[in-house]
């Protein structure tokens, strides 16, 4: 009835959704791009925000859920503020990705799939990220960190911690 309740989507997200509207000859094509908008704002597919977006796009909610269950890059539950994804496929494993994972577990004091108690970091392993020549590597949110060494990983974690004011 014109009254807005609990709007979760940011102005930036709504602006992007409006840009996407009508961009494709077939409306449903936009589904993945909308999931990216939600992911960019929340770091995961926030269900209430997704509902809002589906309403704005005039696309059935189920279409988004179907896509989100198929495409692995969108977490469906809240992850850490910094979501760490370590590539585990062959070229990275040859350059020590298993040790990188062990090192991260030790530094963050969490297991694979876990979140630190302050919700700052979450850790997961993923398949090939197309960064094989700069292995081992990890992706944190949408940034690639490549040619990793123990010293560099420590530096990255420290930088992210202090960026969040918890340093």
């Amino acid at each position: 009835m014109g009254t807005t309740v609990n709007k979760l989507l940011s102005e930036k997200s709504i602006k992007e959704l409006n840009r996407l509207k009508g961009l494709y000859p077939v409306r449903k094509s936009v589904v993945l791009m909308v999931l990216h908008v939600i992911y960019d704002q929340f770091g995961y597919i926030q269900p209430e925000a997704l509902k809002e977006a589906a309403g704005i796009m005039e696309i059935p909610l189920i279409d988004f859920h179907q896509a989100a269950s198929f495409y692995t890059m969108f977490p469906r539950e809240a992850v850490g503020k910094y979501h760490i994804q370590v590539c585990r496929t062959l070229s990275c494993e040859l350059r020590g990705s298993q040790e990188l994972v062990a090192f991260l577990k030790e530094k963050l004091e969490i297991d694979m799939g876990g979140i630190t108690s302050d919700s700052m970091f979450s850790l997961t392993e993923v398949e090939c990220l197309g960064s094989c020549g700069t292995a081992p590597m990890m992706q944190i949110n949408d940034t690639y960190y490549e040619n990793l060494t123990r010293a560099r990983v420590e530096q990255i974690l420290d930088d992210l911690r202090s960026k969040s004011g918890n340093g």
């Binding site: 449903k28 198929f70 890059m73 062959l90 070229s91 350059r95 398949e127 197309g130």
Partner: protein, 429 residues
């Protein structure tokens, strides 16, 4: 070292090459201007056919010939889809082109769209390449502002739009029909061919799908002519190729070299040899989906025909270097895990086959395998191959079969001794 001219990486490390003014200063958009000024779409296609350019995504199909498969005078719009869903393990060439020289990708896309009379092109980029997507979108806006893209390009009455579409982290969407299904907003399941995309592709309209590296060759071909292009490489695999070196090599990275360069030269002269002075054990020459070559085969030439003769494939030219300390059972397990994870599950042989391959390899890895498992693995591979809609199933078997074929002793050792025959040791510094 090979004597040739770089086509793709000529300006890759030029400062600010991703900005349109620098791209133009380095000769950029001259090919588009030339084509719109003096060439018909048909003559652009003709030039690409003459060049002998073959698709760089893995299959190696002649690019110009692919374009001629479109129906003449289609009443439906024709679409161009650029495959930037680079996900084949060991491959990272398109990413470098996109991130560092995005206008080259855009100019190649515009030329291809002009040739096939397409007004709407899509670049389907894998979701994780967020920076690449930003680079492409920035390039598109710069090109639009200069009149190279959009309505009435360069005042010649040609309209071409490009949309950058981001994927969601599914290897399967690099398969061309899955890519189209995904671009339509669905779960990325491959489709049965025929009909081929050229007849019924995106939105059931005629569609051409080309790889990023493939299209990045087109500006050179139009600028310098087909003959100049085909002067490099071999008769059947003309031009240059970006070889992606990864694994146990001193200087990993992308190397643009003429097709047909000996693998030995690539590894030892360009790649600086095997890391830490160890001995070479095996090379996977064309991305994780092709059979490996053992160390004694490094004199093979890196082109479509020579690698086929050697029993493997050029594929995406993702060259994964494996040294003597690697347990080949573990390597096979690693890739089996990848294919099991990425199988879309549509076809039973692939869904079940990749599952059982992984389960058996895991069992052997844990020291609970039996010698009968080796024949069982080969039998599963046979039951997958040729029995699926798309090539993912066929891509999952070469790593299993070629490791068993060449390193059966390591499997047997694993099974009888319940441990690896060799151990890689710490590699993370």
């Amino acid at each position: 070292m090979a004597d040739f001219e770089k086509i793709l990486f000529k300006n890759i490390d030029f400062p600010d090459q991703d900005k349109i003014d620098i791209y133009i200063k380095n000769g950029g958009y001259n090919a588009l201007r030339k084509a719109l000024d003096s060439m018909s779409p048909e003559s652009v296609t003709e030039e690409v056919i003459k060049s002998g350019l073959r698709g760089r995504g893995g299959a190696g199909f002649p690019t110009g010939r692919k374009w001629t498969f479109l129906p003449k005078d289609s009443k439906r719009p024709v679409y161009l889809t650029v495959n930037a869903d680079e996900s084949e393990p060991g491959t990272f060439k398109d990413r470098e082109l996109i991130e560092k020289d995005p206008h080259l990708v855009i100019e190649g896309t515009l030329l291809a769209a002009y040739a096939i009379k397409c007004g709407q092109a899509y670049i389907y980029i894998r979701g994780e390449f967020a920076f690449g997507a930003r680079q492409l979108n920035k390039a598109i806006e710069e090109a639009r502002a200069k009149g190279f893209l959009g309505k009435n390009i360069l005042g010649k009455g040609v309209d071409i739009e490009i949309i950058v579409h981001r994927g969601g982290g599914a290897y399967i969407c690099g398969e061309e029909t899955a890519l189209l299904t995904s671009l339509e907003g669905n779960q990325g399941y491959p489709r049965v061919k025929p009909p081929f995309p050229a007849i019924s592709g995106l939105y059931s309209a005629p569609t051409i799908i080309n790889n990023v590296e493939t299209l990045s060759n087109i500006p050179y071909i139009i600028n310098k002519g087909a003959e100049k292009f085909s002067a490099f490489g071999t008769a059947k695999s003309p031009g240059t190729k970006i070889f992606c070196l990864s694994g146990h090599i001193n200087k990993p990275g992308n190397y643009e070299l003429p097709m047909g360069i000996p693998l030995r030269e690539l590894l030892y002269e360009y790649g600086g040899g095997i890391k830490d002075g160890r001995n070479l054990k095996a090379v996977i020459p064309g991305g994780s989906s092709v059979p490996l070559l053992t160390a004694d085969k490094v004199d093979v030439r890196m082109d479509f025909e020579s690698l086929a003769e050697a029993g493997t494939m050029l594929g995406s030219a993702g060259v994964i270097v494996i040294d003597e300390t690697v347990c080949m059972v573990r390597a096979a397990y690693n890739l089996a895990r990848f294919y099991q994870h990425e199988s879309c599950g549509q076809c039973t042989p692939c869904r079940q086959g990749t599952y059982w391959i992984l389960a058996i390899l895991e069992r052997i890895e844990r020291g609970r395998g039996s010698l009968k498992d080796l024949d069982k693995l080969l039998e599963i591979c046979e039951n997958i191959e040729g029995n699926t809609i798309c090539p993912l199933g066929d891509a999952a078997t070469p790593s299993v079969k070629s490791t068993i074929h060449h390193f059966r002793d390591e499997y047997e050792y694993h099974i009888t001794e319940q441990k690896c025959k060799v151990s890689m040791g710490p590699r993370f510094e």
